[in-house]
């Protein structure tokens, strides 16, 4: 039998803190109790009962040999295709530099290592290892190590080069009105956004409506000759139908999770994602590269779907990245504050989770962005988003969202504005993707004039 198939019985872990001995029954319990507090783990009944229990779990976790993750799965190999993907794809050669280390030893190794060594480690780490080490790291540690990871992807431009910060232009409209969306696109372009993707969340999953938005976005991209890619974030099966009917699809979008049952709740399987990717590759629309997938994730989705198997939400989030990396995506982002206060209650929890998600994604080799966001029933506001955005930008986040005025009028939540993207770039000396930056210069974007540059005439894209 191969490792990871449950041949080693779960063994309990014990740790004494301040005179009290804490016992953790198995690996998933240890991971859950070691997790910084968040409402979703409390909702699932998995959170540590006290601060002392949490630190006891963190100490026990720090002493755990990494190799243990290859013999004890948090969800059984037989029961879950994400576990099978994780174990079957594990690269023992890439793991070699750290194979004799503990989780605590990995933290020290990552903080001391050169960027090339950290980057090369990605295929040798399982998501559970990444999640485990993040649980014993501070936000500053998460920033430092993530900043060392080099992940570059390409479709019509180059995303993730050192010193760049890309923006997804998100021009959503409550009725998918073509001119309403086009006005949002133009506004974003004028503020330097759109190098990650021009991506619309459709208000409806109606196939004809989705195809209409796809055509409109492609027309805008073509008229202005923008070196970027477009996407309508409909369900993968709708996008596949649109491709079959001849719609101009650059990227295939899908929300994914860290367990088979979570993905089932999203209406997808691993085989379906492969089929969709093959279909998009066959269109050969990328000019610089063939990263054709775009995934979104977020802590709490598994619990929300009743598919968490007693595993904490941050570990499950990291497992979603194992799904993502199977398909060589152009873009992946956690929608960290979108899910609501029952999973991440307030700005403290959202900030920590956003930094964990970015770190784990990067460490596992993904082009990781974050939707820096919150809903109106969470205890958070735009000041909190400024702090998270700044931390992420320092950590080298691949991209963030650009929403007109930070207010998404279709999805009814607040994200980062085009202005926020410009501010983060200006404060940290970051630049747009090189091909896109050259285009901004050619088009005369970035001056102080209230007038729209002639080359970006709104009449060219139906705004008259």
């Amino acid at each position: 039998m191969a490792p990871g198939r449950g041949i080693i019985a779960a063994m309990p872990f014990a740790q004494t803190v301040a005179g009290t001995r804490y016992v953790f029954d198995d690996l998933k319990t240890l991971l859950a109790r070691a997790t910084p507090f968040r409402s979703g783990d409390a909702l699932a009944g998995l959170a540590a009962g006290s601060a002392a229990e949490r630190v006891a779990a963190q100490r026990a976790l720090a002493d755990l040999p990494l190799a243990r993750f290859l013999t004890e799965a948090v969800i059984p190999y037989e029961a879950d295709d994400v576990t099978r993907l994780i174990i079957d794809r594990h690269d023992a050669g890439a793991f070699a530099p750290v194979r004799s280390l503990t989780v605590g030893g990995l933290r020290d190794w990552l903080l001391a290592a050169e960027p090339a060594a950290v980057t090369a480690l990605a295929p040798g780490l399982t998501p559970e290892m990444a999640a485990a080490v993040s649980k014993i790291m501070r936000v500053a540690d998460l920033m430092q190590v993530a900043a060392k990871c080099r992940v570059v992807t390409r479709f019509r431009n180059t995303i993730g080069l050192p010193g760049t910060l890309s923006i997804r232009l998100q021009p959503n409209h409550p009725t998918d009105d073509a001119r309403g969306i086009a006005a949002g696109v133009l506004d974003g372009l004028l503020l330097g956004a759109g190098d990650a993707v021009i991506g619309v969340n459709p208000a409806t999953d109606n196939v004809d409506a989705v195809m209409g938005v796809l055509r409109m976005l492609d027309t805008v991209r073509d008229r202005f000759a923008i070196p970027t890619q477009t996407c309508v974030l409909s369900h993968v099966t709708t996008t596949m139908l649109a491709m079959q009917r001849g719609a101009p699809v650059d990227l295939v979008f899908q929300s994914i999770g860290g367990t088979q049952a979570t993905n089932a709740s999203f209406g997808v399987t691993l085989a379906l994602l492969k089929e969709a990717r093959d279909q998009a590759l066959a269109l050969r629309r990328g000019t610089l590269g063939d990263n054709v997938m775009y995934f979104e994730t977020g802590q709490g989705s598994a619990l929300s779907a009743g598919a968490h198997h007693g595993v904490d939400q941050q570990t499950l989030e990291a497992r979603a990245y194992a799904v993502a990396r199977e398909y060589a995506p152009l873009l992946v982002n956690s929608v960290v504050g979108f899910i609501g206060p029952e999973y991440l209650f307030d700005s403290k929890q959202i900030l920590r989770a956003g930094m964990e998600d970015h770190f784990c994604g990067k460490l596992l080799g993904l082009p990781m962005g974050v939707d820096v966001c919150y809903t109106n029933h969470a205890e958070a506001d735009q000041d909190d988003m400024d702090a998270l955005l700044a931390c992420l930008a320092v950590a080298g986040v691949t991209y963030v969202m650009g929403v007109p005025g930070a207010d998404d009028v279709m999805l009814a939540y607040q994200s980062t504005s085009f202005h926020d993207g410009l501010t983060a770039r200006a404060l940290l000396g970051k630049r747009a993707a090189p091909e896109f930056e050259a285009w901004l210069d050619r088009m005369g974007i970035g001056g102080d004039d209230e007038r729209i540059p002639a080359r970006l005439s709104p009449a060219l894209i139906g705004l008259a």
Partner: protein, 236 residues
């Protein structure tokens, strides 16, 4: 209309916050304070409760009242599992082969209060199966409809539920359709129509789409990912 020459002219095409201008890389003071005011209003709307008597008066049909297992608004927010279950001891009449109709407060009651009666008026005459008595549910999540419909023995359930308040709209209604509803159905097994409000989808368009989806669900024997919204779009 002539094409917009100035950036701020883009505002005529969308309610989104376009054409704000900029000071350095930041938003001008007026735009910043407009946002702060809208956020304050949305925060207040989160706690809006359903006025059940007023809603009943608007529906003009027999209405049953139920609550979820959540005790209050705060528990409702933090315990979605309780919002998906009927309160202990809830009794509902049987309505086998009917379509259960549930009006639920959700995360913001304003949209339900304003738009649910209008959608029901237009939808009920076009249903492909008889309508069960309307159920008004408080402290409810979408999946509470599964519990309600299962108790009634209904063939399908339509849940009209308040969407969470945004900055630009605090009166948005969502509509979820689930065929063969029972406890444990996942979101991939439902079809959703969202943004029902002035400035979004009209009550008439929402009711027409819901009726189309219900007929298609009846033919397919399922809702969700398997049921594609392929309704013809109106001519532009």
């Amino acid at each position: 209309m002539t094409a917009p020459a100035l950036w701020r002219d883009l505002r005529r095409f969308t309610d989104a916050r376009v054409g704000l201008g900029r000071v350095g890389t930041a938003q001008p003071t007026a735009a910043h304070l407009d946002f702060q005011e809208a956020h304050a209003r949305a925060r207040d709307a989160v706690w809006s409760a359903l006025d059940v008597p007023a809603l009943e008066a608007g529906i003009a049909r027999p209405v049953l009242r139920v609550r979820s297992a959540a005790a209050d608004r705060r528990e409702y927010l933090l315990r979605p599992d309780l919002g998906r279950r009927l309160a202990e001891g809830t009794a509902l009449p049987r309505a086998p082969g009917c379509i259960a109709l549930v009006v639920a407060d959700g995360l913001c009651a304003t949209g339900v209060q304003r738009h649910a009666p209008g959608v029901l008026d237009l939808l009920i005459p076009t249903l492909p199966l008889p309508a069960a008595p309307v159920v008004v549910a408080e402290l409810a999540r979408v999946a509470l409809g599964d519990d309600i419909a299962e108790a009634m023995g209904a063939a399908a359930v339509v849940v009209l539920i308040g969407e969470r308040p945004g900055l630009s709209a605090t009166d948005s209604l969502g509509l979820y359709i689930t065929w063969a509803p029972r406890r444990g159905r996942t979101d991939a097994e439902r079809n959703c129509i969202s943004n029902i409000r002035p400035g979004g989808l009209s009550c008439a368009d929402a009711a027409a789409k819901a009726a189309w989806l219900l007929r298609a669900a009846q033919a397919l024997g399922a809702t969700g990912v398997a049921l594609k919204d392929d309704m013809a779009l109106p001519a532009p």
